[in-house]
């Protein structure tokens, strides 16, 4: 298990972006048989309240570009100084190339800036932070822009009452810089994974394993048909392999309860810290119950583990910790210095934690997403590509 210490990396800026459209759990009483009492109970136990949902046709990269743009503008930095762009995403714009190159184009980054995607779920921000720290500490790069983005809420099937009220769409931008002087508050990381849990949270269809091959329609009509054939999932909903994600909630909960608290304790031991010396436990905002349970099992009092981002924006997957930091500490980070333990866990299975000290930095908080003037909706993109492939568009 990698345990790492970094002394020459500074997090200089953070920005989170959420779609302006807000849905409140009390607006959706009809899904709970019109029972306010039931919703009150869900609110109290799980923390369901409000979440942000992107318009259809808005992708994770659209949100991330806006987060990056706002961060760069807010900090007034020279784009030419960015050595690398890392985009953590599970829903790329296209199967290839990496979506980071599309972002590279839209943000007008220089040709000297490398770009790549990282495919990770909820721990993706901490994972990305780790990779960026490694690249900077080794002096391979001096300045890195780390972006995360996900839209788990925008196309969610509202009949899915297990997943639908949970998720919110969001993106984050984090800027990391090299600092010559060794920091008085180094960063500590610990990361682990368990491939045995590969199937516990997964989207099984439409990768190379269950591939859609148009040419096969002539040879074997069943070949593609089976992917789109509806069947009933365990909760009675009609689903198909092309669109549906699968989650074994019980097994994931057991994993979270058994692995994560021990992992947090192990990182604290490595860093010589304890719950008494760490003012903030920034946990992945899965839901209120999970935040409080993990915090308590790791030895933290509940008041050190906020779930405000979950209540206000929903579970924002990869961007949930940046959103929690930007939502709760926005005004403190400009001048103060705040030590925190960030910990996240999710599909893979994967988990990643770090102890970092943030301060004397730019924090743009959580801002509403603004669509770019050149944004193309789904139909426009479809037409664009048809015309382009017919040879009717020449750049």
């Amino acid at each position: 298990m990698p345990q790492s210490k970094f002394e020459h990396v500074k997090i200089s800026g953070m920005q989170v972006v959420v779609p302006p459209k807000e849905i409140c759990i009390y607006d959706e009483l009809h899904y709970y048989g019109g029972s306010v009492k039931k919703v009150d109970r869900m609110r109290k136990m799980v923390g369901f309240w409000k979440r942000r949902v992107a318009d259809r046709g808005v992708t994770p990269s659209d949100l991330a570009i806006d987060a990056g743009e706002k961060l760069i503008a807010g900090m007034d930095i020279d784009k030419k100084s960015i050595d690398a762009l890392i985009f953590v995403v599970q829903k790329p714009d296209v199967p290839n190339p990496a979506t980071a190159f599309f972002i590279h184009q839209k943000l007008c980054l220089p040709k000297t800036c490398m770009a790549f995607d990282m495919n990770l779920g909820c721990p993706g921000w901490v994972y990305g932070l780790y990779v960026a720290h490694s690249m900077i500490e080794s002096k391979a790069c001096k300045r890195i822009l780390l972006l995360t983005g996900d839209t788990p809420a925008s196309y969610l099937n509202l009949d899915d009452r297990i997943k639908a009220p949970l998720f919110g769409d969001a993106a984050s931008a984090t800027l990391l810089d090299y600092s010559q002087e060794p920091s008085i508050s180094p960063s500590f990381f610990e990361i682990g994974s368990d491939g045995e849990g590969f199937e516990l949270i997964i989207k099984p269809g439409l990768g190379e394993r269950i591939k859609y091959v148009p040419q096969m329609d002539q040879v074997d009509p069943e070949f593609n048909k089976v992917i789109f054939e509806p069947f009933k999932e365990f909760d009675g909903r009609n689903v198909n392999l092309a669109g549906e994600s699968y989650m074994d909630g019980v097994a994931v909960f057991n994993f979270t309860m058994t692995v994560v608290p021990e992992h947090i304790k192990s990182l604290m031991k490595f860093a010589g810290e304890s719950p008494d010396t760490i003012p903030y436990l920034m946990l992945h905002q899965a839901n209120k119950q999970i935040v409080q349970t993990v915090a308590s099992a790791a030895g933290f009092p509940e008041n050190k583990a906020s779930y405000e981002a979950f209540e206000n924006y929903g579970n924002q997957t990869i961007s949930s910790i940046p959103a929690l930091i930007c939502h709760t500490l926005k005004d403190k980070l400009k001048n103060n210095s705040e030590k925190m333990l960030c910990s996240s866990f999710g599909n893979g299975l994967s988990w990643a934690s770090c102890i970092i000290t943030l301060g004397n930095m730019f924090c743009g908080g959580v801002k509403d997403f603004e669509k770019r003037p050149d944004h193309m909706g789904r139909n426009e993109v479809i037409n664009y590509w048809k015309e382009k492939m017919k040879g009717n568009i020449n750049d």
């Binding site: 136990m45 349970t293 099992a297």
Partner: protein
């Protein structure tokens, strides 16, 4: 923790309006769903330092079974 305190804490954990009695059957509770089971797992872990799996919890029939598991 006394049995009485356990019953009050359980009622709060389940977010149940009605009083919780030792002889109650868990399957009679509308609130005995996966959400509650997870909350009870966390409750045992926090208050008694006892790990229980969801499968194990599913095999408990009455409130008395929970009290026994807690060791009261």
């Amino acid at each position: 923790m006394t049995k009485e305190e356990f019953l009050t804490e359980l009622q709060d954990t389940l977010q149940r309006d009605d009083q919780v009695l030792e002889t109650d059957k868990l399957s009679d509770y509308e609130e005995w769903d996966s959400l509650s089971k997870m909350a009870v797992m966390a409750f045992f872990d926090k208050k008694f330092g006892k790990k229980v799996s969801l499968t194990e919890l599913g095999s408990f029939k009455t409130v008395e079974d929970l009290i026994k598991f807690a060791g009261l």
